[in-house]
């Protein structure tokens, strides 16, 4: 399970454009680093992030090793109705994770 967090504003008005922030714990190993014995540490990156709002996909990203470790992404979504923003992520080793934040739309 890859640990991560999602943050949305507390409560928003319908039609308001809100910022969704995502932070995932991942070393984003480039494959170029060497350990203390000189051995290359294998490539290991979070390569996919997908966000759904009210069950509908609203954002996704393909990431390369050029993303910083512990990847941070902030994107926007138009608030329609109250619902969950579910964000899922996966890496090139098949590890996955997800986090959910509830958007309260008044």
């Amino acid at each position: 399970m890859l640990l991560g967090r999602v943050q949305v504003p507390r409560s928003v008005r319908k039609g308001e454009i809100v910022e969704v922030r995502v932070l995932v714990q991942h070393p984003m190993e480039t494959g170029f680093r060497r350990d203390m014995n000189g051995q290359a540490i294998p490539l290991n990156i979070l390569d996919k992030v997908t966000a759904r709002y009210g069950g509908r996909e609203v954002f996704s990203a393909e990431l390369g090793s050029g993303m910083s470790a512990n990847p941070y992404i902030a994107f926007y979504v138009r608030a329609e109705a109250s619902g969950d923003i579910e964000v899922e992520w996966s890496d090139d080793h098949g590890e996955k994770g997800r986090a959910t934040a509830t958007l309260s739309v008044g």
Binding site: T30, D35, M36, G64, Y76
Partner: protein, 159 residues
């Protein structure tokens, strides 16, 4: 996004990975700070022969990055983000990195704003390049030079 878009996305990834892979091997073999690579083939592949217009993109990124491992980048593309006129994808390139294609962010009218924030790695001073794919097969591009004192991928700490 429909399954059709998924297929297109996978094809794009496969094609650019092949190109990027070839480019990456070359840079890594040098073992140190590499010169900026020519990313026009990467851009051309995404734009599919369509004209790429300069401008319309604001890249908020430090002029001097204290550490190349984590450079904050805030990217904003001018767009009303309506169903008829929106940004579908934002592609980020770092031409001097061992793998120049950093990430692709997929947006749509539901996004409200063609705007993303993230943190990227920069392997040396270079021009960070952003390519925006807009609806109607339009493309825009902009770049911003960042001075990097401690390069990612190369100035790695082992202690």
């Amino acid at each position: 996004m429909a399954g059709d878009a998924q297929v297109k996305r996978r094809a794009f990834l496969r094609d650019t990975a092949a190109l990027a892979g070839a480019v990456a091997i070359g840079a890594h073999a040098q073992g140190g700070l590499a010169p900026s690579q020519d990313i026009t083939p990467l851009i051309a592949k995404i734009a599919g022969g369509r004209k790429v217009e300069p401008g319309g993109i604001d890249i908020d990124i430090p002029q001097v990055a204290e550490n190349g491992n984590s450079v904050p980048a805030h990217i904003k593309v001018e767009s009303p983000m309506t169903p008829d006129d929106y940004v579908g994808a934002i592609h980020v390139f770092a031409p001097r990195n061992p793998r120049p294609h950093v990430a692709t962010f997929h947006l749509g009218p539901q996004s409200g704003r063609a705007e993303i924030s993230t943190r990227i790695r920069l392997a040396g001073t270079q021009k960070v390049t952003v390519l925006a794919a807009l609806s109607g097969e339009r493309f825009r591009m902009a770049d911003f030079e960042v001075l990097v004192t401690s390069a990612a991928c190369l100035d790695e700490s082992s202690i």
